[in-house]
């Protein structure tokens, strides 16, 4: 019943391959993908955290796991997911406060999010993984 009242005919263009997403749109979809990715890997991260705190033996085994190149790439990806979600999230909080909602400002701030999150990923990744 509610649906009948709300639904109106609206034009729809969801032909994904023909849509050219502007940078703020790319930021937005990566915000969602990174959130989903972090959620899916929560058990892995909790397990790493638990092992790192249980005993010096399990701490050493975490170091062994993290030393594996494949794990390093996954963790670097997760750090980037976290940093992107973090920076894009702060941008959204500012947009909520009506800061930077004009087109030019919004485009600029999305560039800043990419630059800062990638820089933070490289710094933290270099510190923790290498």
């Amino acid at each position: 019943m509610a649906e009948m009242a709300i639904k109106k005919k609206r034009p729809k263009n969801l032909d994904l391959p023909t849509i050219r997403l502007p940078l703020p749109g790319i930021l937005s979809i990566i915000h969602r993908i990174s959130g989903a990715g972090l959620f899916l890997l929560l058990p892995f991260l909790l397990w790493l955290f638990q092992s790192s705190l249980t005993s010096s033996e399990t701490f050493a085994s975490v170091r062994g796991v993290v030393a594996h190149p494949l794990v390093k790439i996954v963790l670097l990806g997760l750090i980037w997911f976290y940093m992107h979600h973090f920076c894009a999230g702060i941008r959204y909080l500012l947009l909520d406060l009506h800061k930077g909602i004009e087109l030019e400002a919004a485009r600029l701030s999305s560039k800043v999010v990419f630059a800062v999150s990638i820089a933070l990923t490289l710094i933290v990744g270099a510190k923790v993984l290498w």
Binding site: P43, S56, F59, G89
Partner: protein, 115 residues
């Protein structure tokens, strides 16, 4: 008069607010965590463990975890609402998500207080 039927009375303001409140808690914790780890530079099990044995960090880390799980609930629920159209399947995904997140919260408590 606005032409719509008001059913349910849930327009998501509470979730919208909690998503943002938990985001701020997580952002503040992230900065605290990076500063503490940067300052301590834990290079051994004992030094790493000492960070979370500290009462303040244990409390802050617990708050962070609770925020992560509640924030994840709202975000993942939104993803199911956007992409999973069959009602039964969507409900199943939501229940599964809520269930694992409550489980993770118990796990996080166990990690922090049994170490």
């Amino acid at each position: 008069m606005v032409n719509r039927i008001l059913v349910g009375a849930h327009y998501g303001l509470k979730d919208w607010l909690i998503q943002r409140a938990t985001a701020i808690i997580m952002a503040v914790y992230t900065v605290i965590f990076l500063v503490v780890v940067g300052a301590v530079g834990p290079d051994s099990f004992e030094a790493w463990r000492a960070i979370f044995a500290n009462g303040f960090m244990k409390f802050a880390t617990f708050l962070f975890f609770v925020s992560v799980f509640y924030h994840a609930w709202i975000g993942v629920r939104d993803i199911w609402m956007d992409y999973v159209k069959p009602d039964g399947l969507r409900l199943l995904m939501m229940i599964a998500t809520a269930t694992v997140l409550v489980g993770y919260a118990g796990w996080a408590v166990q990690i922090l207080w049994r170490m």
